[in-house]
Symmetry: none
Subunit: 211 residues, 2 copies
């Protein structure tokens, strides 16, 4: 049973959504409110699994409300629903820790799917939103030619350890291999990345998102 708390200022939509969610097997509607100013208190009271939050609300915006909720209960999943597809709203919502972002939809089943997805630890994005997010992603990282470097599994592991600031000894311990083997892997990594010190390798690894 997934328990849900709904915030939606539009009376019509709130009531029809409530009706639908409450009547769906596997879902439990803990409450439906037109205002998010009390959101933190309500979350504390009902301990819902998922909060379904309209982005545009009087007094306190859905994003602000989510930020407040996440601050106190980071484990509560928040699903943003809205009619807005502005890049900046999407951006703000994601940065504030939204677990999903769906466009208000005539198809009620998408709500069930989205709620289930976020409840299970995934994220749910409406197709148009996903497209925008991926576009933003591309724009952000158009930068460097990814001269693709293929590190082996072990090499990646070792590199990951190095990024965590571990010394050869600690890496050896963490990967359960000998100091000498770590040394060998490091030599190979340096060769492949064309660097010759740990700090350089770490920076390059982060840049290239190899870890």
């Amino acid at each position: 049973m997934i328990s849900i708390l709904l915030f939606e200022d539009n009376k019509n939509l709130r009531e029809s959504l409530s009706l639908y969610l409450a009547g769906t097997d596997g879902l439990w509607l803990s409450g439906a409110y037109a205002d998010a100013t009390e959101a933190v208190k309500l979350v504390k009271k009902y301990k819902p699994d998922v909060v379904l939050m309209d982005i545009q609300m009087p007094h306190l915006s859905g994003i602000e409300a989510m930020r407040a909720i996440k601050k106190v209960n980071p484990e509560v999943k928040v699903l943003i629903q809205t009619v807005f597809e502005d890049d900046d709203k999407i951006f703000a919502a994601i940065c504030a820790g939204a677990n999903g972002y769906i466009i208000k939809n005539p198809k009620a089943e998408t709500y069930v799917q989205a709620v289930t997805d976020v409840y299970n630890g995934g994220s749910h994005l409406s197709p148009s939103i996903a497209a925008k997010v991926m576009k933003m992603f591309q724009n952000q990282f158009v930068q460097k030619e990814q001269t693709y470097v293929s590190l082996t599994q072990r090499e990646k592991e070792v590199l990951q350890c190095m990024v965590k600031g571990m010394s050869y000894k600690m890496v050896a311990d963490a990967c359960d291999i000998s100091f000498n083997t770590v040394h060998s892997h490091v030599k190979n990594i340096y060769e492949k990345l064309h660097v010759n010190s740990a700090p350089e390798a770490v920076v390059k690894a982060l840049e290239m998102r190899l870890v």
Copy 2:
């Protein structure tokens, strides 16, 4: 009618997927191939609406194949399907212009949904992938808890040099100070950041956006 071209090296999956897609109303399977080396030619020949591409293929990886296709026919939608959830693969796929990224799934309907979504100009991401993408997004733009550390001007300069992968000698040269002075600054930096090696300091500096 949405026409589809399928690339999947696993015979079993290729055949069962072919069967399923070909038998679905509204979809038309133009072809199914185990190898993507001819992908560009095949796309030119069949002009599919959507290419369903496995990421791991012999000879030519799905991402490379997609890059080639997008170069010639940017309007063709490419849906990546894979068992991999590595950040770097997801990242590479998105940067190369993927229109969707789905985890190989026992539920065949998700394929139809995904194909339809990308055909309609949206993107489709499996929940776990969407979660990773949003996480990457957050990591990129939201700075972590700033336990404020006040580094002096010189210390910041030295740290910046270290992030560039420079050795003490090179830093000394770049800042026009002696090796010993660099050493002193480094000691102070390590003290302030509570670390005791260059890689750790670099990671912390990047995390804290001190540079």
